[in-house]
Amino acid sequence: MNGIEKARGILENYDGPDCRIMEVCGTHTHEIFRQGIRRILSPKIHLISGPGCPVCVTPVSFIDEAIYLALEKDCTICTFGDLVRVPGSELSLQTARGRGARVRIVYSPQDAQVYAKNHPDEQVVFLSIGFETTTPSCCIAVRNAAADHTGNFMILTANKTMPAAYDAMKDSTDLFLYPGHVHAITGTKVCEDLVGQGVSGVCAGFTGRELLTALAVAVSEYQKGKPFFRNCYPRVVRPEGSPAAQAMVAEMMEPCDAQWRGIGTLPDSGMRLRPAYADFDARIRCDIPPIEGHANPGCRCGDVLRGEITPHDCPLFGKVCTPEQPVGACMVSSEGACSAWYLYGEETGGISHE
């Protein structure tokens, strides 16, 4: 308990310059709430929930594309559980299921490929979302499909990469709490390079102990006044990351412009399959027409993701937009900032102001 007490002490008593820390990762957001960390922070430390939840930044049109494939092209959709309740323009995958869509929840992309192999009479599409951590698994599924000649397996890509988001967000925060599992793949060079641009950050793990430690290191370094990067998760994150994953993804996928819900289009921030793998690309194989998604105009998920407002500044928050009836993606994913604020009681000032 010694380390925890020391880190707590640093965070409770911090009296340096005001410090905004953006958690870039939804799992961090969730764990910070689950561990009650916000409640012990000095008033000079401000946590901002950034754009690091792949479900939250997936555009409405992606859900519409998936529903088009399910209802118009009779494809079986395989997806991570996180996506099924995300609202599209009209339907979510869950409500589409009520209209006859076949939607299967899988644990991994590889499982979706195995399902396709075992069901040759179905056209199976895996909804390929995620950041650098998840993208290698999507590529492995496509590799397996190529090796097994699983011709009825495709992926619908919305994979994204973080550096463009760091760049888009760097003015909204004083330092980043970098997502440990992304950097387990990419390594830490990108973080070191950002120091050169004056952008600070720490790489953090996910247990209460790891988060407290990373935050304590972050504010202590910040107080010194010079840009810095510290890897506070070295048991998982190596400077070089995973060269095998980097090489495989580079061979199979190429960067493309990508739309981030609430943020807009960021150049070269997405990943799509290279032409050599076009047979596994659902957009090409199924000839999906251009779809323009329509998000609820009242929803301010974008401002929340940019850290410009907190969720309860949004007029829909907690009233028409709840985890049971989500309007915006930040409410639908349990990693989303709005969902975390709602579920952990921040809409009523949390538990500390009864």
Binding site: C25, T133, V217, C232, S242
Partner: protein, 68 residues
Amino acid sequence: MCVGISAKVVGIKDGTALVDANGARRTVSAYLLDELEPGDFVMIHAGSAIAKITDEDESETDALLEDL
């Protein structure tokens, strides 16, 4: 963004690893890691072992805090 769980490798076969997390077992892809051996600890995400790790966070965080 990425739910991960640490697990112990209990078997290796054809580019896959059988991993054990507190007695829950599952076959995952070992493609991303070279030279994985039974007894190693790995971080699992979405059906792949993404990093070889040490199993325990306490000594690491204590070391980080020592300098503060």
